[in-house]
Symmetry: C3
Subunit: 304 residues, 3 copies
Amino acid sequence: MALRAALRNKCVLSGLLSQRSSSCSSHGRVCASPVLAAQRRNNSTSPKIDVEFDQSTGVAVMRLQSPPVNSLSLEFLTELCIGVEKLEMDKSCRGLIITSSQPKVFSAGLDITEMYGKSPERCGEFWRAVQEMWLKLYGSNMITIAAINGSSPAGGCLMSLTCDYRIMADNPRYSIGLNETQLGIVAPFWFMDTMKNTLGHRTTEVALQLGLLYNPSEALKIGLVDQLVPEDQILTTAKQTMTKWLAIPDHARAITKSMMRKPTIDKLASNRDADIKHFVNFITKDSIQKSLGMYMEMLKKRRG
Amino acid sequence: MALRAALRNKCVLSGLLSQRSSSCSSHGRVCASPVLAAQRRNNSTSPKIDVEFDQSTGVAVMRLQSPPVNSLSLEFLTELCIGVEKLEMDKSCRGLIITSSQPKVFSAGLDITEMYGKSPERCGEFWRAVQEMWLKLYGSNMITIAAINGSSPAGGCLMSLTCDYRIMADNPRYSIGLNETQLGIVAPFWFMDTMKNTLGHRTTEVALQLGLLYNPSEALKIGLVDQLVPEDQILTTAKQTMTKWLAIPDHARAITKSMMRKPTIDKLASNRDADIKHFVNFITKDSIQKSLGMYMEMLKKRRG
Amino acid sequence: MALRAALRNKCVLSGLLSQRSSSCSSHGRVCASPVLAAQRRNNSTSPKIDVEFDQSTGVAVMRLQSPPVNSLSLEFLTELCIGVEKLEMDKSCRGLIITSSQPKVFSAGLDITEMYGKSPERCGEFWRAVQEMWLKLYGSNMITIAAINGSSPAGGCLMSLTCDYRIMADNPRYSIGLNETQLGIVAPFWFMDTMKNTLGHRTTEVALQLGLLYNPSEALKIGLVDQLVPEDQILTTAKQTMTKWLAIPDHARAITKSMMRKPTIDKLASNRDADIKHFVNFITKDSIQKSLGMYMEMLKKRRG
């Protein structure tokens, strides 16, 4: 859940993400300057994703830069998905490092404002974008490394969990976890499956029931992250780790990855519409809308 | 397997447990004094289950008090299932702590006398009650904590494994595990699944093949229990832990729990009759009956 | 993948392994001297498997003795399968210890020469033998212990993983793992499943993507082996461990083992032909044949 109370300057996005994706595929190879491209596309606002692709190494660094806390709004998710898809289609791009440009936070998770006071259609469109983000990242053929340089609750944790490797800044103030139950909501089955694939059944059962947020040491201990480093070394370490993964022939590695993840991915891919319907029914309930409203009021007061 | 050689004063219980359960549901809310209620129900004998429900905290403590070793007899299981169902239906009851009133033992497991020299019908009724206990506890919407203040082999271990959290008394003389193979019998698939969900595939494979009983330190190390405390602090610790779990909104936590356990529960729920038939065929074999007879003789001599 | 560049004196083996297996079953009980039997069968060459069966303990020790590195050739696999099947059918044989007679290596894995420049029919026959080895060992009713007294990459690691218990010589020069991706190939789904059953999903995902080879300490830490001992104590330790496992009634232990492994075994058993077709299509590709050829040239030069 995002801590943001409002989205400012949001440009209108119409149509389904899948339509955007298919039109996007005509772009072909990623352009030399995806940052500029993104700026051109959303000319009413600054891009929420910065992609720096190093042709010499075949590695892209994607920086989440949506102030203040990289909330996963529909706009943010759309930019992210387009960015990932373009890199995916660029055969010269073999690895992707995801990190944050915002201080102290990797991503605060789903943007609450996308779920409050919105039409069912709009809620459905938002949820499809969340699904798309997960499908694209968890199913990526690229080597994906999360350089988690800040807190990463809920949807932020999910995004990290899709990656092949997780390096976290060793700052005890940061935390990571799927804390949905603490807010009275339930992590969907594919959040659950992703965590189970990482931590096993038992640890996931406790983590999800209690909505636990772990500090970096705890996260390392249970396997929620793979490595801790001082914050100023996180990108260097991510790049060094990437080098190790790049030594493996892409084709064999990508098939192996796909075989491991396919059953989990197929489960959502073949149930997307039902999952969206389920989400929309839940989130548009009066009781849930009321809870969200109160939560947002509380956040406003805390800041005001 | 229970160490008891005989059940004394057993009152005749007729009909299937499921019938009892459905008639029980007309009771509605749990009564103020379930202990008295249980005494009324089994007026020929003292209740085998003591339930103390604290309205102010929403937490019930269920004490197993069937001397000498809390064997899981049909009568015991029936009382236990009725007790759990009544608490389950009482919306004010949010958490359940299960512990033992007997010294040195949590529960010795299934009562052998229920399986020796009994008619197939009676064996089937018994097995349905074992299933029912597991279905009710593993599928409970309440927060369930096992305060394991004594040894907990076989069925006793299974009962612990159904809970959300396991605290064990740190006494090296106590042990816990599914030790069925040591007695020449096989843990059914749902015992296996429950252990796999807790320990993972590999540890379960070794634990079940060798019928391993673990002391508390070993049990903690492999994750068979979650925490060790001195025996005199076990109930206090269970209540403190419960407080932590109670801080999570019930609805979200219970749905999460159910999503995690549903596939495992469905597997038995949709195969109950076949599983009963399988058990009855196995247990009524001459060779198995002979083994059970010898085992019971051995126990008698050991005591005599 | 085997390090051997060529198979010398290979006798022609016709027919499918499954045919051989079924004719073999007429042998009934294992003969007193399986070593001699093996020699009679392959009289043009020395046996690649030495089986020493101790009637007094019910334990057989199978030594892999195919110089230089126990490559899994069709001939080797056929001998191994026949040896295992004969022991399996001998009710007096309860346990099997597998170890190597070759210095420094347990088994180097699949024999590359079986996959290079061979007809599709022959490749298919080879792959069926690899499947058969796995099906026989992973599905064995005997207690199986791997005494890993040397390196054990790829197919050698798979063979170890089929066993109930793995003891490895504590020599940091030895390594074990499924390193297929390092050679540009992909571990089939049943290699993957076997490793997942041992290490869990997450560790397997990393191990297989990177094709990691672990030294003994690392292997112990992640659970790829169960115990490390000095190399000269490996067989003694394996026999002591076997004694512990023999204390459990065979019938109950074997049913338990079978229940744990059945879903994994059924998955291959019901997809054998498709899996063979998939392998043959892959391995006979020009690009793969070219890679294998270059790899073998490299090995020749390294030795020459």
